[in-house]
Amino acid sequence: MSLKYKLLLVEDDENLGYMLKDNLEMSGYAVRLCRDGALGLTAFHNEQYHLCIFDVMLPFKDGFTLAEDVRKYNQKIPIIFLTAKTRRMTG
C-alpha cells in the first residue's frame, strides 16, 4: 500500500470543509479538518503533514497568523490559502 499524503485543512465553513475533505479523500489524500485557527495549530503540532490548506478568515486565529506560527516550526511545508477576499491589500 502506497504512502498517503497527509493534509491539514483548516476551514470554518462546515459545508465547504466537509466537501473539500471528501473530495480530497476521494483523490487519495488523508485529510485532517479543523474548524478554527487555534485547533489548526494544535493539530499541526500533533501530527506530521505534507501540505497545509488554510482559509484566511477564521475564528480565533486567522489563516495568515496560523501560517506564520506554522513557519516557526516548519519552513518547508507548502501552504495553500483559501479565500473569498477580493482586495489585494488588506489590513
Binding site: 459545508n15 466537501m19 486567522d62 473569498a84 477580493t86 489590513g91
Partner: protein, 418 residues
C-alpha cells in the same frame, strides 16, 4: 488614500502650519515692539517740549534742566521743579500730542516736588480737542511741582496701528482652522472608505462561500462520483446553502429600507412583555446549546406601547442575537423592563466580550463592524445595530450603549408611550 500618504500629508501640513504661525508670531511681536518704541519716543519728546516751555514761561526761576523718565511701559514722569498750572499743562499736552498724532486717552497728575503729593489729577479722553486757554486760575499753584502722564490704553492704541498685521494673523489662523477641518474631513472620508471596503469584503465572502459550496456539491453530484450514502448530505448542502443565500439577499435588500424616512411604521398596541417572551423562547435553545443562561425580569407595570411590532421584534432580536453571538465563553444574558418617565425601558445586558471605548461611538453606524482583521468569529454585515437605532428613533425613542471590553455590554432601549 494609503495610510502612509495620509500620515505624510498631516505631518507635512502641520509642520508648514506651525512654521507659518511661528514666523507670523515673530513678525507680529517685532512690529509691536517697533510701534511701542516709536510711541515711547514720541511721547518723551512731547513731554520734554512741554516741560521746557513751562520752565521757560516761569520767569521767576532761572531756566533749569528738565528730565523725562519712563517709569513703566505706559507711565511717564517729568521732573521740572517749577510751579505748574494744570490748565496750561493740559492745553500744552493736548497740543503736543495732537501734533504728533497720538490719539490716546491719558491721565495727568501734578505732584509737589518736595514730597510727591498729588496736587492735580484728571483723566482726559483722546477725543477732546485741545484748546489753549489762558484763563486765570483763582488759586494758582505756587508750589514747585513735577508732572506725570499715564496712558491706560497704550496697548490698544499700538495694536490699532498694526491693523494689517492683525488682519494677516487672522487670515493665517483661518487657514490653520481650514487645514484642521480638511484633515478631519479626510480622516472621516478615509474611515468611511475603510468601512465600505470592509463591507464589500464581507459581502463578497458571505456570498461567494455559499455559491462555491453549491457549485462544488452540484458538480460532484453531476459527475456521479459520490456514493449513494453521501448523496443525501450533498443535496442537503445545496439546499442549506441556497437558504443561506436567500437570507443574505434579504439582508442586503433590507439595507435600502433602513433609512428613517423610508421606514414606514405600522403602529398598533404591542405588549412588550409578550414580544420579549416570544423572542426569548426562540433564542433560549441556542443559548442552552452553549450552556449559557437567559435571565428575564419583566418589571414594567405598563408593558403596552404603540409600536410597529415587526420592526420592534427585529430590533430586540438583533440586540439579543448580538449578545448571544458575542458571548465570551458561554452566553449570560439578562433582559429587563421597567417604566420610566413617559415610557418603557428595555435593558439587554450581557457578560460578553464587550466593545472597546474607541469603537463604541461607531457601533450604530451603518456597515460598521469592530475590526478584527481576518479573525472571523462572528459573521455579519454591520447592519444590525444601525437598523436598531433607525427603528428606535423612528419610534421617537433612544438606544444607548454602555460597554466595557472583556466585561460585557448593556443596551438600553427607551420607548415613549407617545
Amino acid at each position: 488614500m494609503k495610510r502612509k500618504n495620509l500620515r505624510r500629508i498631516i505631518l507635512f501640513g502641520s509642520v508648514v502650519m506651525m512654521g507659518l504661525l511661528v514666523v507670523q508670531g515673530f513678525w507680529l511681536k517685532r512690529a509691536f515692539d517697533i510701534e511701542d518704541r516709536q510711541f515711547n519716543h514720541t511721547v518723551q519728546i512731547a513731554l520734554k517740549n512741554i516741560a521746557d516751555s513751562i520752565v521757560a514761561e516761569d520767569l521767576a526761576v532761572k531756566p533749569t534742566e528738565t528730565h523725562i523718565r519712563q517709569l513703566s511701559s505706559n507711565f511717564y514722569f517729568a521732573e521740572l521743579n517749577v510751579p505748574i498750572q494744570p490748565e496750561l499743562l493740559d492745553n500744552l499736552l493736548k497740543k503736543e500730542l495732537g501734533i504728533r498724532q497720538i490719539k490716546a486717552d491719558y491721565e495727568l497728575g501734578i505732584y509737589k516736588a518736595k514730597d510727591d503729593t498729588l496736587v492735580y489729577g484728571s483723566y482726559i479722553p483722546a477725543t477732546i480737542q485741545w484748546q489753549i486757554d489762558h484763563a486765570n486760575d483763582p488759586n494758582p499753584n505756587t508750589e514747585k511741582s513735577n508732572f506725570a502722564v499715564y496712558f491706560p490704553n497704550k496697548f490698544s492704541v499700538i495694536a490699532g496701528e498694526l491693523k494689517i498685521w492683525i488682519f494677516s494673523t487672522i487670515i493665517l489662523l483661518l487657514m490653520v482652522a481650514f487645514f484642521i477641518y480638511a484633515i478631519l474631513t479626510l480622516l472621516k472620508e478615509r474611515r468611511l472608505a475603510e468601512i465600505k471596503e470592509d463591507f464589500i469584503d464581507n459581502l463578497t465572502h458571505e456570498f461567494k462561500t455559499p455559491i462555491a459550496n453549491i457549485e462544488l456539491a452540484s458538480e460532484a453530484l453531476k459527475e456521479n462520483k459520490i456514493n449513494p450514502e453521501k448523496q443525501h448530505r450533498y443535496f442537503n448542502i445545496i439546499h442549506s446553502e441556497n437558504q443561506r443565500l436567500k437570507v443574505q439577499v434579504e439582508r442586503v435588500l433590507q439595507m435600502g429600507t433602513i433609512d428613517t424616512h423610508e421606514l414606514r411604521l405600522d403602529l398598533k398596541v404591542v405588549n412588550i412583555h409578550e414580544l420579549i417572551q416570544r423572542l426569548a423562547e426562540s433564542i433560549d435553545m441556542r443559548i442552552r446549546d452553549k450552556t449559557g443562561m437567559l435571565n428575564i425580569e419583566l418589571n414594567a407595570a405598563h408593558p403596552e406601547i404603540l409600536a410597529d411590532e415587526f420592526h420592534l421584534t427585529n430590533t430586540v432580536y438583533n440586540v439579543l442575537d448580538n449578545a448571544e453571538k458575542y458571548a465570551k465563553d458561554w452566553p449570560k444574558i439578562s433582559i429587563s423592563t421597567r417604566n420610566e418617565k413617559e415610557g418603557l425601558l428595555i435593558s439587554i445586558k450581557d457578560a460578553g466580550i464587550g466593545i472597546k471605548d474607541d469603537f463604541q461611538k461607531y457601533v450604530f453606524d451603518k456597515f460598521f463592524r469592530v475590526p478584527t482583521g481576518n479573525i472571523h468569529n462572528v459573521k455579519g454585515f454591520g447592519l444590525g445595530l444601525s437598523y436598531v437605532k433607525t427603528v428606535i428613533e423612528a419610534h421617537r425613542g433612544t438606544v444607548t450603549l454602555e460597554s466595557e471590553l472583556n466585561h460585557g455590554s448593556q443596551f438600553d432601549i427607551y420607548l415613549p408611550f407617545k
